[in-house]
């Protein structure tokens, strides 16, 4: 399974990548929403992990665009949120996200969580 991770923090990128790799998932990482959209056009992932707060284009806007584009609408989107606001989760789900994973996440189970969400 190909995972596209949009996350601006390099450390978190590393953790997530390693964690997902442990779970047997292929990970591609981008730094922000713009890059994510560009990357999606190039290589279609099976699931997109979006960080909520990113420079230039945040997760919310990225997801909006992804869902607006019929080509990318069907790709499941999972948000990584600091769960600062409950409204984030509600907004995310309203956008059509498949789920949210809160930060800090359990690095050992990140992959499993993603699969679990996809399985729903």
């Amino acid at each position: 399974m190909k995972v596209l991770l949009a996350e601006d923090e390099p450390d978190v990128q590393l953790i997530a990548r390693l964690s997902l790799k442990k779970a047997g998932l292929e990970v591609a990482t981008v730094n922000n929403g713009i890059e994510a959209l560009a990357r999606v056009a190039v290589e279609r992932p099976d699931v997109i992990l979006l960080d909520w707060m990113m420079p230039d284009m945040d997760g919310f806007e990225t997801c909006t665009r992804l869902k607006a584009d019929p080509a990318t609408r069907d790709i499941p989107v999972i948000f990584l949120t600091a769960k600062v606001q409950e409204s984030e989760v509600a907004k995310a789900l309203a956008l059509g996200a498949a789920g949210c994973i809160g930060k800090p996440f359990d690095a050992l189970t990140l992959g499993a969580q993603v699969i679990h969400i996809l399985g729903k």
Partner: protein, 637 residues
């Protein structure tokens, strides 16, 4: 005796006097008649006697004439005269009363008769034979006649004197009578006058006295002496009545004076009070004007603004002008909502509530004016009452808490930013540690322990951040819950799962008792689990080794489900129970480190449960243990 009786007496007296007078007049009349008769009698007597005298003289004269002339006519005349004398002298005694007079008259009559017989008749008879009649006459007649004449004259003189006396006496009597006739009415008049005077005195004196007293009293002098009041008559009654009235008037005068004095006192007091009130009012004005909070005074029941200080003008964004009506209108235009957006009715403003008698402190409202001006304010209001306790108005203080909101917002922003910022490195740390722990073999148990320490502390940091964020959200009112019908047992099971790590590590056992018929509850599952987890972890922390922590679920009170989590720990002192659910409270500081709490858990639990319409509670006995309860509303079907 009453006046009426007295008047009747007077009239009676008048009538009596009239009678007396009439009687007197009658008596006098009788007397006069008697006197007249006496007088008549005396006159007749004198007349008779005069006639006698005259007759005697005439007899003598005629006799002489006859004797001298020898005329038979004269003799007839003499006889006629003698018959007349006879008749007349016979009449005389009846006029005479005194025996002396009678005797004298008799004597006189005898003498005359004797002359007649012995002289006159003799001479007459002898006339033709007598040569010297004159001489014989001289011899026989003259002395006798002289004597008789003398007697007659004496008699006559006496008679005349008598008559004069009689006349004098009669005159005197007449005078007396006249006087009496005059005197009687005069006396009557005098008596009447006296009676009238007495009556007047009896009537008028008291009246005059009463009138004078009335004058005195109306002049203000109450020291009047009233005449004694006889208890029997109307004047007495008047005097008594007047006396009573005078007393009453005096009393009333006294009351009036006292009343006036009291009134004066009262008005002085009023003036003093008014001054004091004005002073107080001035003080109030000064206070209101200068106090930095926006103060408004309203009147009941109209809810109109009657006083507003400058700060209030500034708050509502008006120029502080004197136009009270404009200000009142301005206030009316404000619409208010609570912080969460629900509208606040005009009646629910703290000011309106104060007018109904409720004291409001710190009512938070967001007021919006049609001109767009929106201000968050804090209203504190209290009713103003008068002495009777009735509400006359209200005083309200408004505080513009825009700054506070801003500060709050900044704080929340700060908190959210910070917690976000903190989570990111924590993600990295936790992730790194976890992956390392998974990848790197650490044969040394101490090394493994170190890794555990690092990981668990990372988790602890995360928990702290979560708690801080939760509290911040709760305080900002931004705790968004999504309640839906849940199965309580399910929630509990998930909670137990979360505390598995703590439970597994200890000898404490967890027992779940669910009463039959527990319905579904209306709850936000994640947040409710958070609350239950908090209580469970607390219980597990404080439960001594090998003891049991009981979770008891019952469908009570009505429309609620209660979870009671009981531990047999050391319990909580009564004085600490009140503070338990407040922020940053732990039983003692040592626990914070030992049990790795943040001190926010119970406060968050309380907020979470209460926001969902439930409640939290605690019962504890030192040395016995504690039971924490949590109620959740039942989901309506």
């Amino acid at each position: 005796m009453s006046i009426r009786a007295r008047i009747f007496a007077v009239i009676g007296a008048v009538v009596a006097a009239a009678f007396v007078q009439t009687f007197a007049i009658l008596v006098l009349e009788g007397q006069r008649k008697a006197t007249n008769e006496a007088m008549d009698r005396a006159l007749s007597r004198y007349e008779n006697q005069s006639q006698v005298m005259q007759l005697v003289v005439e007899l003598d004269s005629v006799l002489r004439a006859h004797l001298m002339t020898g005329q038979p006519a004269l003799r007839d005349e003499y006889e006629r005269l003698w018959n007349l004398y006879d008749r007349t002298i016979t009449l005389l005694p009846q006029y005479l009363e005194e025996p002396a007079a009678k005797k004298e008259a008799a004597g006189l009559d005898a003498a005359i008769r004797d002359w007649h017989r012995n002289v006159s008749l003799v001479l007459i008879t002898q006339r033709p034979t007598v040569p010297d009649m004159p001489q014989l006459l001289e011899q026989m007649n003259t002395p006798r006649m002289h004597q008789i004449r003398g007697m007659l004259y004496a008699f006559q003189t006496r008679e005349r004197n008598r008559l004069t006396d009689q006349r004098n006496s009669a005159n005197y009597q007449y005078l007396i009578m006249a006087l009496v006739t005059l005197a009687i009415p005069a006396l009557s008049i005098v008596m009447l006058l006296i009676l009238v005077a007495i009556l007047a005195r009896i009537l008028l004196d008291p009246l005059a006295a009463v009138a004078e007293s009335a004058r005195q009293i109306s002049g203000g002098n109450f020291d009047v002496v009233l005449p004694p009041a006889s208890s029997h008559d109307e004047i007495g009654a008047l005097v008594r009545a007047f006396r009573d009235m005078s007393t009453a008037v005096q009393r009333r005068q006294r009351d009036l004076t006292e009343g006036l004095a009291r009134e004066r006192e009262m008005s002085q007091m009023n003036a003093a009070l008014r001054t004091k009130a004005e002073h107080e009012h001035a003080r109030l004005q000064a206070t209101v004007a200068t106090v930095p909070a926006a103060l408004v005074i309203l009147e009941a029941p109209s809810n109109r603004v009657v006083l507003q200080n400058k700060a209030a003008d500034v708050l509502v964004g008006r120029e502080p002008d004197g136009d009270l009506a404009a200000r009142q209108a301005y206030w009316r235009n404000f619409q208010a909502t609570y912080r969460d957006g629900t509208p606040c009715a005009d009646d629910d403003w703290g000011t309106a509530r104060a007018l109904r008698g409720d004291v409001t402190v710190g009512q938070e409202l967001i007021v919006k004016h049609p001109n767009g001006r929106t201000i968050p304010i804090l209203i504190s209001a209290a009713p103003l009452r008068d002495e009777a306790g009735a509400i006359t108005g209200a005083v309200a203080a408004f505080q513009d808490i825009t700054n506070l909101y801003e500060v709050d917002r900044l704080k929340n922003e700060f908190v959210s930013v910070v917690s976000h910022e903190l989570r990111t490195p924590l993600t990295s740390i936790k992730g790194s540690l976890q992956l390392l722990l998974a990848e790197v073999p650490l044969p040394d148990p101490d090394h493994r322990k170190l890794m555990d320490v690092a990981l668990s502390n990372t988790d602890r940091l995360v928990r702290i951040i979560n708690d801080i964020l939760d509290i911040s959200k709760i305080e900002a009112g931004k705790l968004a819950l999504t309640p839906r019908p849940c199965d309580v047992q399910d929630l509990i099971r998930q909670s137990i799962q979360s505390v598995e790590q703590i439970a597994n590590g200890s000898t404490v056992t967890l027992a779940l008792v669910v009463a039959p018929g527990v319905p579904k509850v209306l709850a936000d599952p994640d947040r409710t689990i958070q609350a239950i987890v908090n209580l469970l972890s607390n219980a597990l922390k404080y439960a001594p080794a090998r003891s049991e922590v009981t979770v008891d679920v019952r469908p009570e009170p009505a429309n609620f489900v209660t979870l009671a989590i009981t531990d047999r720990g050391r319990g909580i002192a009564p004085e600490k129970i009140g503070q338990l659910f407040q922020k940053f409270q732990q039983i003692d500081g040592a626990d914070t480190r030992q049990f790795r709490g943040t001190g926010l858990g119970l406060a968050i639990t309380k907020a979470l449960v209460e926001t969902q319409g439930g409640s939290v509670g605690v019962r504890s006995e030192v040395g016995q243990g504690s039971t924490f309860t949590l109620t959740i509303p039942v989901a309506r079907q």
